[in-house]
């Protein structure tokens, strides 16, 4: 199995720098995610690895083998596309066998490995079906089986779940993660969904405008964002000026909604802030509410549901925050 090294990868389209000097090392068997807003260059970077996009500068290595000048069909990569890209002119088995036949695997081995791969994605017995007879989730499983069966060095996923409905998305991402771990294949996964990224990844690279903003384990980026963009893109946060919290320095402070509590629930040592409730949303397990502070700024707060407490807009409240959970941003 293989680690991936990307060094100084750059690509422009006209005046747009889609990928701008990206340096990245992905560990062997790691589940690595590229996360970022639309147009930040995730797909472009992934397609560079796959061989569908030339690099203007830089290089890409699998282990110590440089691959960025190899033709795409010789790179031994399994790729799963957003729109499945299942061949409509082949059966499910034909689709899964496609890459094996290209590798001149013997017919008996092809049949065995196709069956294994289909069983792995829980499609045993679907081999003779045609793609147009399958649902979106099943098509995506075919696409995954087809990419796995060739035993690729690297698996690439470009927003594989974005065409599925919300529930299926949640269960499929768990399956993908399990498959990847059990097979131990290095995987790079592209998504713009922060929750999805956090749930599946060993590490995440947060991208913006073609550059890497921050790379780290999901919890690490969430808890210690190094920039305003990282703090805001990874979940919800309150960005307040240090002065407003009565602290020195000119920087901004990121204060997560769950680090704020109502006065009554908070330990005595936490700093307090006074304000009035502006807006309340009861979402079930948690309640979100906004509090307007004396200087006019709004703070978003999230609290676990308390059956005995009902907040109404206009009520004056005192908030407390956990001093250990604030992040000072440059």
């Amino acid at each position: 199995m293989t680690g991936i090294v990307i060094a100084g990868a750059t690509r422009s389209f006209g005046t747009v720098r889609a990928v701008d000097g990206v340096n990245l090392t992905v560990g062997d068997s790691e589940f690595f995610t590229l996360l970022g807003p639309s147009g930040c260059g995730k797909t472009t970077l992934l397609r560079m690895i796959a061989g569908f996009c030339e690099l203007d500068a830089g290089e890409i290595r699998f282990g110590d083998k440089r691959i960025d000048r190899l033709p795409a069909h010789t790179r031994n990569i399994g790729m799963v596309f957003q729109n499945y890209a299942v061949f409509p002119n082949l059966t499910v088995a034909g689709n899964v066998a496609y890459g094996l036949k290209a590798r001149r695997v013997t017919a008996a081995d092809v049949a065995r490995r196709v069956d294994e791969a289909l069983a792995l994605v829980q499609l045993a017995g679907y081999g003779e079906r045609w793609p147009h007879q399958l649902s979106g989730g099943q098509l995506q499983r075919v696409a995954i089986a087809r990419a796995l069966v060739i035993r690729p060095q690297v698996l690439l996923f470009d927003e594989p779940l974005s065409n599925l409905d919300a529930r299926l998305r949640v269960s499929m991402r768990g399956e993908i993660r399990e498959l990847q771990k059990s097979l131990g294949i290095t995987a790079i996964y592209v998504t713009h969904d922060q929750e999805e990224a956090m749930s599946v990844s060993d590490r995440i690279a947060l991208m913006q405008s073609g550059r890497l903003e921050q790379v780290g384990a999901p919890a690490e980026i969430y808890r210690n964002p190094t920039s305003r963009f990282a703090a805001e893109f990874m979940g919800t946060t309150n960005l307040v000026e240090a002065r407003a919290l009565g602290r020195g320095g000119a920087g901004m402070i990121s204060l997560r909604p769950e680090a704020l509590r109502l006065d009554a629930d908070a330990p005595a040592g936490w700093p307090r802030l006074g304000g009035s409730v502006a807006h309340v949303e009861v979402l079930g397990p948690i309640t979100r509410f906004d509090v307007r502070l004396g200087d006019g700024s709004l703070l978003k707060v999230a609290a676990l549901d308390e059956p005995h407490r009902t907040l109404t807009p206009g009520t004056s409240v005192t908030l407390a925050y956990d001093p250990a959970r604030i992040t000072v941003l440059p």
Binding site: A50, G51, F52, E54, R69, L70, P71, A72, H73, T74, R75, N76, I77, G78, M79, F81, Q82, N83, A85, V86, F87, P88, N89, Y98, G99, A102, R103, A143, R146, A147, I150, L156
Partner: protein
């Protein structure tokens, strides 16, 4: 900057290079020679505009320009006038037998128009059957020779060019736009004029321009019907055949002028129509309107009358080919003599027609499909250039391209004149635009990520083309093949310039019989041609039906 060609662009670049080579040699080079013939003196040595001055100074050729344009405009107008109500009736009114009407209405597109012209002569000409019958009752009517007859035949054979896109446009109109107009207080009639018609106008004009270009390039219809009236394509042919100087400068001038006219029309179309496409984003076809019985009967009669009227000439030819001719004079007895006369001399013309059509249709597919691949999959200036060049044959009359071929390939390192391949090549080049258009339409429907999936699974781009794209395009390629085959089988305008000796085709036999007054052989050749055309279409139709039923 790296100079090496990125590997994912190698296949499209290789195809593009071959495409440029083919079109450069067999399209641009002959056209260049036509152009240079027009600006060189009779000996082909000195540069001069004298040829243009000479031709345009002659009232005869100025008349040819005016006649050709007038007939083209008139035919375009009559075509639009009969097709738009027809299209509306098919799209929005309760007319019984729509599927049959649409199938029959497409037939004039593949049937040879000069056959229709010839049938009109046999029926309504000076010695025509209908003419004589009417005369026996003391009824006379104006001559069908000249502009009137030509416009009539053009209207009957070219109306599908306007009908089919206009019908599609009427069906694509989003009803909610009409409903919006009516909720704003507009009556249904006013809505039709102020909302619906403006939306379909681009489709009507696009179809109308196709009709106009077809009339400019057509050789067969005026050859049969124009008599003394000078028409451009015919005069270019006559000049070329009659020219004795080594440089065909006069024919060159007419050729260049003809290309200039058609290109101008095409440019106008690109300029004004491409920016005026109204897409209304209709989710489903608008409902059939509820109308009174009177209008219903009227619409039904109208649609069926036009469809059948356009096919009557072809039907008549088939019937007449089984009657006895003495010279050009017809006798109403059943007889197989015409076919015996046609085939006992030689079956070669029939075999040549079948062989040339097959070879050229294979050629068109081999050239057109890969070019369509480059044009749809590569976004670069080079791909656009290839697209433009591959569309160019559309603006070149068959007569002119054929003249270019004769001038280019009758000496030097590549001699084609006198052989069969010159015809196959000209047919191939002429039909390339149609293959590129139809294949591009299919390729636009195929998601490029299918190709990427195949490549990432280990198939090279070339293998991917063969294993994924070709199977996915097969249905479309096959119907394109049959349509080109059929239209090539009845090609006349380039064939009459190029045929030689044993390489005559059915159309040439018919052409020569017309010149020599052999009505019997002409009708037999024409009806053989009709059968040769309709048979593959019927087969294709059955194949497509079976395919649709099985999936």
């Amino acid at each position: 900057m790296r100079l090496a060609i990125p590997h994912q662009q190698r296949l499209p670049l290789a195809i593009a290079a071959l495409g440029f080579l083919f079109l450069g040699l067999f399209l641009l080079y002959p056209l260049f020679n036509v152009f240079s013939a027009s600006v060189l003196d009779g000996e082909g040595e000195k540069f001069t505009f004298a040829n243009y001055v000479k031709i345009l100074g002659r009232p005869f050729y100025r008349g040819a320009v005016i006649n050709t344009l007038t007939i083209g405009v008139a035919a375009t107008i009559t075509t639009i006038l009969i097709s738009v109500p027809f299209a509306f009736a098919l799209a929005r009114l309760p007319v019984p037998g729509k599927a049959a009407i649409i199938a029959l209405a497409a037939m004039p597109l593949v049937l040879p128009s000069f056959v229709s012209a010839y049938a009109i002569v046999l029926l309504l000409g000076r010695a025509g059957i209908v003419t004589q019958w009417l005369q026996s009752w003391g009824i006379g009517f104006g001559s069908i020779y000249g502009a009137g007859g030509i416009v009539l035949v053009y209207t009957l054979t070219l109306y599908p060019y306007v009908l089919l896109p206009t019908m599609a446009a009427f069906k694509a109109v989003d009803v909610s736009v009409e409903e919006a107009a009516q909720s704003l207080g507009s009556s249904p009639r006013r809505t039709l004029w102020t909302v619906t018609l403006p939306i379909v106008i681009p489709a009507i004009l696009a179809g109308g321009l196709l009709v106009f270009i077809e009339t400019l390039e057509n050789f067969g219809v005026p050859f049969v019907l124009a008599e003394d009236m000078p028409i451009f394509a015919v005069e270019a042919f006559k000049l070329f055949v009659g020219e004795t100087a080594p440089n065909p400068s006069s024919a060159g001038v007419l050729g260049v002028l003809l290309i200039a006219m058609t290109s101008l029309v095409l440019l106008i179309q690109r300029r004004f129509l491409s920016s005026r496409r109204f897409s209304t984003g209709a989710r489903s076809a608008p409902p059939i309107l509820r109308v009174g019985l009177g209008l219903r009967i009227l619409a039904t009669t109208y649609c069926w009358a036009i469809v059948l009227l356009a096919l009557v000439p072809f039907f008549a030819i088939v019937v007449l080919s089984f009657m006895e001719f003495r010279g050009p004079v017809l006798h109403p007895n059943f007889s197989l003599a015409n076919f015996t006369a046609l085939f006992e001399r030689s079956t070669r013309p029939l075999l040549n027609t079948l062989m040339f059509a097959t070879l050229a249709a294979v050629g068109v597919t081999l050239v057109g499909v890969p070019i369509a691949y480059v044009v749809t999959r590569m976004r670069s200036a080079m791909a656009s250039l290839l697209d433009v060049i591959a569309t160019l044959p559309f603006a070149v009359a068959g007569t002119v391209l054929a003249i270019g071929f004769v001038v280019s390939f009758n000496s030097g390192w590549l001699i084609l004149t006198g052989g069969p391949f010159i015809m196959v090549l000209v047919y191939t080049v002429r039909k390339v635009p149609f293959a590129v258009r139809s294949s591009s339409a299919i390729l636009h429907q195929i998601d490029p990520s299918l190709e990427e999936a195949s490549i990432s699974l280990g198939r090279s781009p070339l293998q991917t083309f063969g294993r994924i794209l070709v199977p996915l395009m097969l249905g479309g390629i096959l119907s394109g093949f049959v349509l080109t085959w059929v239209t090539i089988a009845s090609e006349l305008s380039a064939t009459v310039v190029l045929y030689s000796g044993q390489w005559r085709t059915l159309t040439v036999v018919m052409f020569q019989a017309l010149e020599g007054g052999g009505g019997g052989i002409a009708t037999a050749a024409a009806s053989t041609l009709i059968i040769v055309t309709l048979l593959p279409i019927a087969l294709l139709y059955r194949l497509v039906r079976r395919y649709e039923l099985s999936t």
